[in-house]
Structure formats: C-alpha cells, structure tokens
Symmetry: C2
Subunit: 664 residues, 2 copies
C-alpha cells in the first residue's frame, strides 16, 4: 500500500517560466524589447482603455489577488469569495443550502449546522436561504479577519462562518422575525450582530393574525445577537430584541466612533399598506406603500437597551428577551427621524459623524448628523410622535445636508479620503461626492465630483474596507442587477453583472465586467488578504465543529469495525489512495456510524467518501474528522469511492459497503 | 399599479465610452498615442509574456467570448459554463443537485426532474451527483448545440439539459449500474448516449452478493440510451445494455467516421482485486488492481448489438433490455484488446482511425488502429479468450504505434491539424504529438513535438471541438486537480485550477490561470457560441417541462383563487413590481397549488416567488409557468416576496400568505 501511495510533492512541477509565487512583485525587467504590446492590443481589437484595463486587472499564474471580496450569493444561499482585481471566483461557502462539493449537509452536517438552523417552532426544515449582507467581524471598527456573518433574508436567520477554515459553523433561526433585511451588521467590536425584520410579524402566540389587525397585532423587531468573542458564535440567551412599529424596517447600519452605541434602520411602508384584496379597495403594495412623502429612520441606542435588559426590564418572547415598544420609548432607546419617501440604503460614514440615507424615489441623498441627532434628543426637539408613541425628531434638527445625485440612489460606500460613492439604480451610475468639511475632503463639502456610468441597474457597491472606519479606496465594485448585453446565448436566465471600477484615477475608469452565473452577489465586503490568517491544514483528528480533537479521530493502524447489537461503528481513515477498511459488511437494518479521518497532513490533500445509491458525500480536508450516521435500509453491494481526484491511483481509491439481507 | 411599474428599458443606460455590443471587432484605432502599454505593464510588475497574455484573454465589457466551455461540476452535481478565453463563470446549471438560485428542486421541480431521477428500486431519494463527462449532442460528428448530457459518476445516472433554455429536463437512473464512469459519450448523430459502470454490480435479484462470489455474480454493463431526436430525451424502452465481465470498465469513447458503429471502453482491475479484509490476505485495491501488465480495451460493435436486440435476442433485467455476455461473444459484439496496465483515458481521433489509450502507470500512449482491429476480428487474430470467453485480439494485430510521452498520461484531445494533446498527470504537463501520416500532419508521424508544462497535476484537457470530427484548435484548457500555490489564505480546501494555453503559438503559451471555487470541472467540451441558438424569453405561458403552453398559464386580469374542498388553486401572475394576488388566505391543513406565470416579455426580467418558513423558492424567467403544491401545515402570516432584484420598487414586490387556524 505505502509503495503505491504517491506523494504529491514528488511530482509537483512548476510551469515553464512561471515560477509559482516567486514572481509576486517582480518588476517589468522581464519586458522583452520584442514585445510590442500596442501592436498586439491593436490586433486584438482593443482600445487603449481596454488594453490598459487588462493590464491593471490581470493576476498572472502564481501571483495573488491583494483583496478578497466576500459576496453574498443571494438566493443561492451561499457566500462567494472573489479575487480583486482579477474577479475570479475562488471559493463558494455554502451557508443555508446543502452543497455536495464541500459535503455540507451530505455528511454528518458538521454538528448538524443546517439541521439546527431551522427552529421547528418557526420554520419548516429549511435548506435554502437568501443571503444578503455579509458582515466581517470587526475590532475597533476594522475587519479583523476572524468570522463572517450573513443573513437569510427569506427566513430571518444568521449564518456564522469561521474564517479559520472558511466553513459555516452556526445558523441561528432568530425568533419573532420572518423575512429580514436589516442584517447582518456588526457593532465596531463585534459585540453584537444585528438583524431586523423587513415585514412585520404577528405577535400572537401562533404567529397568525388577519390583516385587519395589522396595525395593532403585527410588529417589527430589531435583534442584537450577542457574539462570543472567543468562538464567534451567537449566544441567543445573551441576545435581545427591541419591538418596533409594524413598518417595513429596511436596511440597517451600525454607528461607529462618533456614533458608536447607536444603530440606524430606515423603513418604508409607514403607510401600513396591505395590498389588494377582494374585500377592500386598497391599492397594490407598490403604490400603497409609496404614498407618504416621508418614512422614518429608526435611531436605536443599543448601549442603553443593553442596560435596560440587564436591569431586567424585558419580556420573554419565544426564547428571546424583548424590550417592549413602550419601554423602548419610555427609556429613550428608540427615536424616529423623517426620511424622504421609501428609502433603501443607510450608510454611516467612516468617522461615524454622518448617516447617509438614499431614497429610491428621491434624487437627493439625505445626510444626517449624529451630533445634531444627539443634540435634538437631548433638547427634545421633536415634531411629534407616531401612532405608537415613538418621538419623531424634527427633520431640520437632524439634517446636515441634502445632495442631489440623480435617479434612484440606493447605497453608499466611502473611500477614506472624505468622499462618498452612491449607487444610482435608475440612472445606472455611481456618483462620487464629498462629505462635510470635517471629513478630510479638500473639495467643496457635500458636492458631486463625478458621475461614473455602469452598464446596468446597480444595487449595492463595495470598496475595500468601504464600510469600516478606515476604507482603503482604490476600487469600487458595482453589483449590477442585470447583464442584458454583457453575455449572449445563455438562455432566458442571465447572470448578474459585476463591474470593477478604478477610483484611483480621475476620472474613474471601468476596468472589467464579470457576468457571474449561479448566484446574486447582493452585497459584498472587500478585505485586504493580509488581514486573513486561516488554517492550512487541520491539526490531526480535528472536528471542525469544535476545532478540537475529535473523540472519533482514528490514526493509521487503528482502523476498526465494532458491532454493538444493531449498531456498527466504523473507524476509518483516508489517505492517497486508500480507504481503510476497504470492506464494510453489515446487515440490512443496521445503524451504521462512519467515523472518518483524513490522515493526510499535506496541504490541499482533500478526499471524499461518496456512497452510491445513498445520499452520502463527505468531503474531508487534511486532518479532518467527519461522522456520518445512516440506517442501512437497502440491501446491495455498493462501491464507495473518493470523489476528489487526489492522486495517480485515485480511480483505485474505493471500497465495498456490503449490505446483506437478513437471511444471509 | 401600472404607473409605478417602471419599464427597465426606460432607464437602461450604457457605460461611458463602452458601448455594449457595438465595440465587438473594433480595431485598434482607439489606441491613443498617449497610452504607453509597456510602461504600464512594467509598473504593474508584469513580464512581457504576462502582459501579452492579459491582452490575449481580456474580454472587455460589452464584448463576448467566442467559445463556451461546458464543464462538469464534479461532485457539486452541476454543469458550469465558462467563457473562453476570458475564463469567466457565466452560468451554473444544476443537474443532480437542488439549487435555490434557479429554483431547481425548490419549486414544482420542473416536471419533477430530481424526484423522477432516483429509481426507488435502485437508489435512495438522491439530491446530489458527481458530474463527470458532459456530452454535447452531435450531428455528423460535430456539436449541434441542441442538448447536453452528463453522467452522475456516483449513482449511474444521466442528466439531460435542453440548450433551448439551458435547463435540466430529465434524469435517468440507469438500471443495473451503480457507480459509472464511461459516460456520457454520444454516437456521431446522437443516436445513443452511452454510460457504463466503473465498478461491477451483483446480478442477483436484490443487488447483493458477497465478495466471494465476485467473479461469477458481479457484472459490468455498457448502456446505450436511445435519444429521441425531436426532444433530446432518453427513451429507456428503446435503450439496451450489454453485459460485461466484472472488470472496472473505465472511460469510454465513441467511434466516428472510420470507426463509426463502434464504442471503446478501457478497463482496469481485470485482476478482480477486492481489497483488504479481516478474512483474507488480499492486498489493498490500489496494488491488487495494479498487478498485471495488461488490462483490456473493450471494443463494442453497437450497430451489431442494435440488430441483435431488434431481433429479440435479449433478456429483460430491471426494465432494461440486456444482451447477455454469452450472446455478446457469440454474436461478435464484444472483443477485447490488451492495453498496458491500468489505463485511464481513451480518445478516438477526429478521423476515427485511431484510438489512443493512456495508461497512467505506463509512460507510453498506445495508439490502436480501427482498420487493424477490424481486420483482426475478420481474420480472428486472437491471442486467446478471457475467463468469460471473450476473444482477445492480439496486441500486435491492433497497435498502430506506441509513443513515449512521460509520466502519467491520462487524456487526449485533438487540434484538427493532425496533432494530439495528451495530459500527463504525474509530470504536470501537456504533450503535443503527431498522429499517423494520414492525419494531416506535416511533421514526422507519432512524434512528440512539444511538452507544455502546467502548474499542477492535470486530469482532463479540452480543446474547442477537440473530441469531434472537426476540432477548432486554438486553445487547450488544462483542468488541473490541485492549485496549491495559485491562491492563498482560503482555508484548507483549495479550488481546482484551470489553465488556458494558447496552442496557436509555437511554443504553446500559458495565458491565464483560473482557480475556480465551488466545483471540480472534471471534463469539459468547448463549443463555438455560433452553434448555440437558445431562447431569449419563453413564449407567454410556457411550461419548460414540455416547452408548450401550460394549461395553468395565467394572463393579467385573470388571476384568481379557487377553492375546491380542502384544495386551493391560486392562479397568479408576476410582473415588475407586483404579485397578483397579493393576499392568499387559506386555512391550516389546506393543500395549496400555486400556478404562477411570469407575464413579462422583456429579456432578463426574471422574478422569483420565495415563501418564508417554507422550503419554497420558485424562479421564473419571462413567459415561464411553474406549479408549486404544498400542504399549508403551519399557522401564521408569511410575507412571500420576489428574491430577484427586478426594479426600483423590488422591495415592494411582496404579498401575504395567511394560514389561519381552523377555529378562525
């Protein structure tokens, strides 16, 4: 066996002239005088701009992208990692959906992440999600490269990914909220991961109420999920919610520096439109929810709420500590500020001083000042209360500026140089404009500097560090929703379209276009890869659920099959190109528990255990232990095999699961 | 409602200076004299080769890739479409695995494709697969752009994708085979789609036999799935199998032109190794299956088999017509040819004259001549029979040449100029060598011309049309199995690595590297996009399962809810930005049947219907109808919504599923 186990290092070869890794940072001394790039570009039909862009975005073999974009996968339920500026899709991390490539949900389900991710009191057993807003964990307002959180827009859940091994470790089905949008956004030291409802939900015991009772029985909830700073896990019993009026709370953002301790949620449908029905003459939601000229920005003092909860001033609702709406009002936790009609994006500036609201039906962005808001609260400069008694701060008392950008402003990111970049959905553009004079800009404050066209209707946009206290600037990635003319001959379903824009140059330049199939990268954060420090291989015998040694870890020579009544425990190992044991004889009806250890210590030496006719596909990275339990309820001879092409003798890496009939 | 429904065309803008589509073929007249590409490349740290490669692979915004690579997704169970030369991932087509992005398996399951894709007599309800070998349908030996077939290596199944809409329409769980490898390969006019077992399976009634009975009770099967040339669907009742000895039949390829009518399957483990067990002193499979110096190429005369089956000389086995091994021998359907030790790849040359076998433990490729094989069969130049009575053609009588390439040759493709390209797994290289003097080469026949290094252990490789009668050459894509130094800081699981190689230049040049996450592109075919002619939108009210008008198609104004006892039929429409109806009131325990029509006719105007707390996520392209049936077994108020960002008022595109308790 050992003789034939070919060590990969033995036959690793490096491409001709392209020394892997070593060429990083090489300067242009290799540029042969014989290379006429201008003539080549010409013969390829490239304009000067196109040729330059190619040279600015290429990451040749063996070199690395300096940034990774962690993008949601939208209703694929996944997270995607895209190299910037090459825009190559480097990794897919399944979160809410099962994935047989990584074995996620087709094995022991890593501590039952997906299974534990649907609360039966709230949800059917779910195996999809609509990932929207990834949130890298932060320390002092900057990405720290430790964990990633992301919401399931469809079902009001949060997934937690450990950036030690880039695997999903936890899904929390948040009580009291259904469809969610205001998540995940983390506080500056990842004290909390925030998620809030987008459509309110009845606060009745059974979660149902007729729409006639919408105003009095439906409620929104702002959820503050406590993060264990050792493990990154969400701790439900240390978390709390704040009850909100039944508006559609939309996007959220967390205060930082000047606004640390506050959370900001905008809203639409403060009209409480219910849509058309046979019984009423109500208009459809899209017009019913667009009647009023103002909706409300929700200003939440979470540090105050934390104290109120600690003092015991909460009610328990479905296992969650909830600050009642009346308490949120009486304790000064919740204030409203009028914001123009049906806004969508809310984005706090790097210094925390400004909260930028984009109203999709308003050509202006509204810039609120946290200083003014705090002052208005202190001086009770209210224009009144809403029907639920929540004080409404006077618009004039809170606004720092209104800046006219164009049609359909949605989201804003920052470059760290005093500039804001706002996406315009309807105009299909990104607008660069200045913040206040205290923001570091040398241009006139609150002024449009540039309008950068993009090909299609843009939703979110992302700048490296663009939502932290220290943006790096350099690029904007436009996350466009359509891609009509960017690809052809792919059938009726088009990919979404990402565009990479160079914002170091003036004017800004579109460098490349990435029509990306299979997902909707809804929102993204871009991190400098220097901030990441993942494992290369697991310590031998690691259970990824605990990151500690598994009690089922097996070493070479200790493989065994143990029968205890109708339960068969198999302690197996995998290495190139061999399963041990190779024959697993059981009897129909047995419960089989496979405890599988990948005993490789070579980086990248991943194996899988695939069992035909069974829905089992386990992927094991070097050092990893996975446990799979199944009932052998099907008589037959099944040739299990490694589905990861691992070595020259990969085809020979198989064995036999023999399920004998009872009479045998 | 209509007033607010914003037409996308109204706000479509085209990027500044980058006119979508129009720039295709533009020559370098835009190259400004101010653009010093050499200086720019230098400042980017690029060598001349790297800069040239960037210019040769870039596809600027609004231009199109001339080729699409249809690549398997390996154990992701999907198919991927990658643009060549940009190497952008343009589309993912789920086949064996559910996918909430496209709604596949989360809706009515498009005619129950996944549900119908597991035969309960053979398999547990499966929702994963291990896609290996995509096969584009062919007419006269060339891709015709109509359908794509792909095998599930794990479970012996074939998926069929319709290239009218790029959706999976059928999964056939092939009887009598478990794990499969020799599929899918189509005959030159797509008469049949071939799939064969890789590990044999007991021919007992219950599919079980102890390994002691391996030689007499286990068998391989070569399956010839009949294709309906109108619909592309596999027709089980017109298909047949040929019983084979219990060797591990590995890769297959179909004859063409000179070898039309034949199929070729190589094999390993003709030793019948079973692996280690407590009872025997057998060696592990990897060495037990590598003892003999020769295994057998299986030469199958499928046209003869077709006649034998038509004459009724078959047995029925689990619903499949099977030509018994003894009949295959007596009728001259099956012959064996010795092939060097544990081969892996078999690849028929464009003219059909040569069959190239790569033995992974042999530094030579063995080139068989169909002319010689036919002659040997006619003259019965046999060296004996195997233990099952199958005649073995003398090696010398069949071989045209043996060409020494290097360590670990696996797979071969052709450039249409008389050259073959063979991957070397162990050497990490692609070798260019010449075929016989009748192949069009002007170089010395059967001679190595060039050894092209790749970064990592390469499995398959793909050339545009490289497995057809008319390869286009131009590029080789190396599908490498590892990517160790091509990416960093991604955790223990690395992406596989694709490399694009320019074979128009001499020497060949590596142009780019694509570490591609989330899948294993195991094998790929590359098609010129001119051969594709998909739908842009569906005709109004189309059911993709039939491509005809659905009986449930609903037009605007005819939306309705009909109750019949405990069954509630909802005829709904979707358009920007509105569901009709917006309120769906039912009672717990009702069976709800949603008949949903996307009434858009604008290209790319896809919507979805996502239902919180339920495992429902339907994606509908323009004109498409989907039916979803579920039991409303959960009391509550659920805000269903569109998960595809479709318009400025996308957030307002939702409605209410109200599941009242019985007493309400």
């Amino acid at each position: 066996m050992k003789k034939l186990a070919i060590e990969r290092r033995d036959f690793l070869k490096v491409g001709g002239g392209i020394v892997a890794g070593a060429a990083v940072g090489a300067v242009g001394s290799h540029m042969g005088s014989g290379t006429d790039l201008t003539a080549l570009a010409s013969s390829q039909g490239l304009s000067g701009d196109e040729a330059s862009a190619a040279l600015q975005t290429v990451v040749p073999p063996g070199k690395y992208d300096p940034y990774y974009m962690f993008a949601s996968g939208g209703h694929s339920g996944q997270v995607q990692i895209i190299g910037v500026p090459s825009m190559r899709l480097l990794k897919i991390i399944p979160v809410f959906s099962r994935d047989s490539f990584s074995g996620y949900g087709f094995d022991g389900d890593v501590d039952g992440v997906i299974r534990a991710g649907s609360d039966p009191a709230k949800s059917a057993p779910l195996d999809w999600g609509d990932t929207h807003h990834p949130a890298l964990s932060e320390t002092a307002g900057q990405y720290d490269g430790r964990w990633l959180y992301i919401n399931d827009r469809a079902n009001g859940r949060i997934g937690m990914i450990d950036l030690a091994d880039f695997k999903t470790k936890q899904i929390f089905d948040v009580p009291n909220i259904g469809s969610s949008h205001g998540g995940v956004f983390v506080t500056p030291n990842t004290e909390y991961a925030h998620i809030s409802s987008i459509t309110p939900r009845p606060i009745t015991d059974n979660g149902y109420a007729p729409l006639e009772r919408y105003a009095d029985l439906y409620r929104g909830f702002s959820t503050w999920c406590f993060v264990d700073r050792k493990t990154g896990r969400l701790v439900p019993e240390k978390s709390f919610q704040i009850e909100l009026p039944p508006y559609n709370q939309d996007l959220a953002d967390m205060g930082k520096l000047a606004s640390d301790g506050f959370g900001f949620l905008n809203s639409f449908n403060t009209e409480l439109a219910l849509g058309q029905s046979d019984k009423t003459k109500d208009p459809p939601i899209e017009s019913g929810a667009s009647k009023k000229n103002y909706d409300y920005l929700h200003v939440i003092d979470w540090k105050k709420a934390e104290k109120v909860v600690a003092a015991g001033n909460f009610v328990m609702r479905n296992g969650m500590r909830v600050v009642a709406l009346s308490v949120a009002v009486s304790e000064g936790i919740l204030h409203l500020v009028p914001e123009p009609k049906s806004p969508h994006g809310v984005a706090v500036s790097p210094d925390g001083k400004y909260i930028v609201i984009s109203g999709k039906l308003d050509p202006f962005v509204t810039v609120f000042s946290i200083e003014k808001i705090k002052d208005a609260i202190a001086k009770r400069r209210y224009q009144g209360k809403d029907r639920y008694g929540v004080p409404i701060i006077s618009l004039d008392a809170a606004v720092a500026a209104r800046v006219k950008l164009g049609a359909g402003p949605l989201h804003t990111q920052y470059d760290g140089k005093g500039n804001a970049y706002t996406s315009l959905f309807i105009d299909s553009a990104v607008v660069k404009w200045t913040l206040g004079s205290d923001s570091g800009t040398t241009d006139k404050p609150f002024t449009v500097l540039e309008k950068i066209p993009v090909h299609y209707n843009i939703g979110h946009l992302a700048i490296p560090g663009g939502d932290t206290v220290k943006p790096e600037g350099k690029y904007v990635v436009a996350l466009n929703k359509w891609s009509l003319d960017q690809v052809q001959k792919l059938g009726p379903q088009h990919p979404v379209n990402l565009e990479l824009i160079d914002i170091d140059s003036t004017p800004a330049r579109t460098l490349s276009s990435l029509p990306l199939g299979g997902s909707e990268p809804h929102y993204a954060q871009i991190i400098n890869i220097d901030k990441l420090n993942p494992l290369k291989v697991y310590a031998p015998g690691t259970d990824p659920a605990t990151m500690a040694k598994s009690q089922y870890a097996t070493v070479a020579g200790k493989e065994r099959i143990k029968r205890n009544g109708r339960v068969v425990d198999v302690y197996a190992t995998l290495m190139r190109s061999h399963f041990t044991p190779e024959q697993i004889p059981v009897t129909v009806g047995d419960t089989v528990r496979l405890h599988v250890t990948n005993i490789e210590s070579t980086e990248n030496a991943t194996h899988t255990l695939a069992v035909p006719a069974h829905n089992i596909q386990v992927t094991l990275d070097p050092g990893e232990v996975v446990n799979v339990e199944f009932k052998a309820d099907r008589v037959g001879s099944f040739a299990f095999y490694c589905a990861q092409f691992c070595s020259a003798l990969h085809m020979e890496m198989y064995g036999w699961l023999l399920v004998a009939p009872k009479e045998a």
